[in-house]
């Protein structure tokens, strides 16, 4: 008899339950701070943080176990909009957002802000074009919509293929990120850590499917947002940028402009090449004024936005709300919760850079003697694990801007140490990074396993399968895909960020137009949708291969991170052309589209199907 069986009262009690949970987490942080005062080592504190949070997630996963189809696939469609917003926030913000984004802005400056704009504005497309209509449809998975709207197993199968390619690319990056944190905290080899990471991820999702993932994701959102904001508030206090640095760091951006001139950022080029690391050469707020720079910015924004609106693990979160109107509200809440992290990331990048560059701050290292910098704890620690390197290229014994190399990925994780914050904050940030990567991995694994179990197995292979069998198949697939993901992650084929961008490009190439036009263009028909998916994915993949490995010069700066532009373009043309060349959909399908467009009335698909 778990508390999750008390359906009505459980949902009513959500604010109280998560209030107590948040309070408990704060108490835990205070306990860790006391432990640090009493002489506990930073290592011990980090381990306790990771262990404590994982035990909580696993506990929630266990309590949410279920053998009901609609609970397993759509959390019983009773997740209130605000909580679904938090769950989506955690589902959405991955290791790339939490760990890599601020570091990217630190090293890359303005061009990198395209990720910040793209990963928020995509939700406008989700709310206006997609979520409420998919909710009205009443589907369990995204291919479920494609398969029913366009009819026929071929359309459904194409959607499953696109979903699996996009989500699998994405999930290997998340298992990679989870494994990176685990190997760092537990000091075990990465190849072992990815399997431990998988175990923790599956503990949340195996028994309760979407219901379990939903309630752990809410818990993970709370951990990750606290972990992201606390160091920034703290650092801002120390530097005198007020309580809400997000609105007041303009002065820091200005100060960086002076310092960049003073320390010759971009003038002094690095004289050595250090693999995976770079020295700062870009001015923080500088925006280039040539055509290719402009095109690169807007195409990256477009890819991230259309990818957002096509990624099944995000869209399926809106299948869990009680109503169509709630699905819309929930998108707005999701964006608000995501915004809290995304508008803080540039502030974090700016304030951390100031810590490193500004000679008026005790923490600065540029312009100091190399001997004194090398004796700093954080420089030694991150240097030892191969994340940063100092090379005195001009042999003057003083650290210049072009002599300090680091991996951009470490900015968020190292900030507490750079700024001289207590070790308890470092532990908190590690737990946050882990929550971000785990929650996204959970959502993705579930999206893949559900598509295979519901669309491939139940709808196409064995439509007579009984509930028990369906749910066991779903779990076996979850396990198998998780194992495959870990095996690929252990190979470390690509970086975290590259893999994430590709996932967006794959998803938009194959799914964006078939989804949007399925609702907004009644004339769209089956051959058109199939052409859109096959040609979109095919052309996109071809372009990726050609610019990445085939030695082709990218067209107009559209490189491998942006191949979705080409794929989605081809998809649109193919879908419209083939649709117009073939017969319009039958009256029944057109009536179904009419029905999807209004919130009133029953869902198109029965509530359990």
């Amino acid at each position: 008899m778990s508390m999750f069986n008390l359906k009505g009262s459980f949902v009513d009690n959500l604010p109280k339950i998560y209030g107590i949970y948040t309070g408990g987490f704060v108490v835990f942080i205070i306990l860790m701070a006391l432990l640090e005062k009493a002489g506990g080592s930073a290592d011990t504190i980090a381990k306790l943080f990771v262990a404590f949070t994982i035990v909580i997630y696993a506990l929630i996963g266990w309590l949410s176990r279920t053998m009901q189809v609609d609970a397993y696939y759509v959390a019983g469609r009773q997740v209130p909009p605000v909580f679904n917003g938090m769950a989506t926030g955690a589902d959405w913000m991955s290791g790339a957002s939490f760990i890599a984004m601020a570091g990217g802005i630190y090293m890359g400056g303005h061009p990198y802000l395209a990720f910040v704009v793209g990963w928020t504005g995509g939700y406008v497309l989700v709310a206006v074009l997609m979520a409420p209509y998919l909710r009205k449809f009443g589907c369990y998975t995204v291919p479920d919509f494609i398969g029913t709207r366009y009819g026929g197993n071929l359309a459904r199968f194409c959607a499953v293929v696109v979903l699996v390619i996009a989500s699998f690319t994405y999930v290997t990056a998340q298992i990679n990120a989870t494994g990176t944190v685990a190997s760092f905290v537990l000091q075990i080899p990465f190849q072992v850590a990815v399997w431990i990471a998988l175990l923790a991820i599956l503990l949340c999702a195996m028994l309760g499917g979407m219901r379990a993932v939903t309630w752990t994701q809410v818990a993970q959102y709370i951990v990750l947002i606290v972990a992201y904001l606390v160091p920034v508030f703290w650092m801002s206090q120390k530097q005198g940028f007020g309580v809400f640095p997000q609105f007041e760091y303009g002065a820091a951006v200005d100060r960086l402009k002076e310092l960049e001139v003073l320390q010759q950022v971009g003038v002094l080029k690095p004289e050595e090449v250090v693999p995976h690391m770079s020295a700062l050469t870009v001015h923080h707020s500088f925006a280039g004024n040539d055509l290719i720079t402009h095109i690169k910015f807007v195409t990256l924004v477009a890819c991230m936005m259309m990818g957002t609106a096509s990624l099944p693990h995000i869209l399926m979160r809106y299948f869990t709300t009680p109503s169509v109107s709630d699905a819309r509200k929930s998108v707005a809440w999701s964006l608000l919760f995501i915004f809290l992290l995304y508008f803080t990331a540039p502030a974090l990048a700016t304030l951390t850079k100031l810590q490193v560059l500004d000679p008026h701050l005790a923490t600065s290292i540029i312009g100091k003697s190399i001997a004194s910098v090398n004796s700093l704890d954080w420089v030694q620690k991150w240097g030892n694990v191969g994340f940063l390197k100092i090379i005195d290229s001009n042999h003057d014994g003083i650290l210049q801007i072009n002599e300090f190399f680091m991996r951009a990925d470490i900015v968020v994780l190292a900030t507490p140490e750079i700024a001289g914050l207590p070790a308890v904050i470092s532990g908190l940030v590690l737990a946050g990074g882990l929550a971000a990567a785990m929650s996204t991995a959970d959502g993705l694994l579930l999206a893949i396993a559900n598509a295979l179990s519901h669309d491939l197995y139940y709808k196409m292979i064995d439509p007579k399968a009984e509930t028990r069998r369906r749910l066991i198949v779903a779990r076996v697939l979850l396990l198998a895909i998780g194992a495959a993901g870990s095996a690929v992650a252990a190979l470390r084929l690509t970086g975290i960020l590259g893999a994430v961008a590709w996932a967006f490009d794959f998803a938009m190439s194959g799914l964006f137009f078939p989804l949007v036009l399925g609702v907004w263009w009644k004339r769209a028909n089956t051959p058109g949708a199939i052409a859109g998916m096959v040609i979109g994915l095919g052309v996109g993949t071809w372009y990726l291969y050609m610019v990445r490995w085939g030695g082709m010069t990218p067209w107009l700066g559209i490189d491998h991170l942006r191949f979705g532009i080409i794929g989605a373009g081809a998809s649109l043309i193919a879908m419209v052309a083939v649709t117009l060349m073939t017969k319009e959909p039958d009256a029944e399908t057109q009536a179904m589209v009419d029905e999807v467009r209004i919130p009133r009335g029953a869902t198109v698909l029965a509530s359990t199907h």
């Binding site: 395209a114 504005g121 206006v128 707020s285 910015f297 109107s325 508008f343 919130p599």
Partner: protein, 87 residues
């Protein structure tokens, strides 16, 4: 029944209109504004270079506010056309 059908037509017309308005706003703050980032950077806004500010924060605030407004507007359309869900 025919009254209901004409209501459905009106509902979809208004829904489409709202969609276009919001996508125009979305387009401006996703693409147009950032195209002019170098020019905007010459203007200072609450201490920030404006081009940097829009990408780091300004566009994001517009998106968030826009979505909460959109939710209210679409709910109103659904209600007025008798297409809202029953509570």
């Amino acid at each position: 029944m025919s009254a209901d059908i004409s209501q459905k037509v009106v509902h979809w017309q208004r829904t489409k209109g709202l969609m276009i308005v919001h996508l125009v706003i979305w387009f401006i703050f996703s693409f147009v504004v950032h195209w002019f980032a170098p020019q905007l950077n010459k203007i200072s806004f609450i201490g920030f270079p404006l081009g940097f500010y829009m990408a780091a924060q300004g566009s994001l605030i517009v998106f968030v506010v826009q979505l909460f407004v959109f939710v209210r507007q679409q709910d109103a359309i659904d209600r007025e056309c008798g297409m809202a869900e029953e509570e």
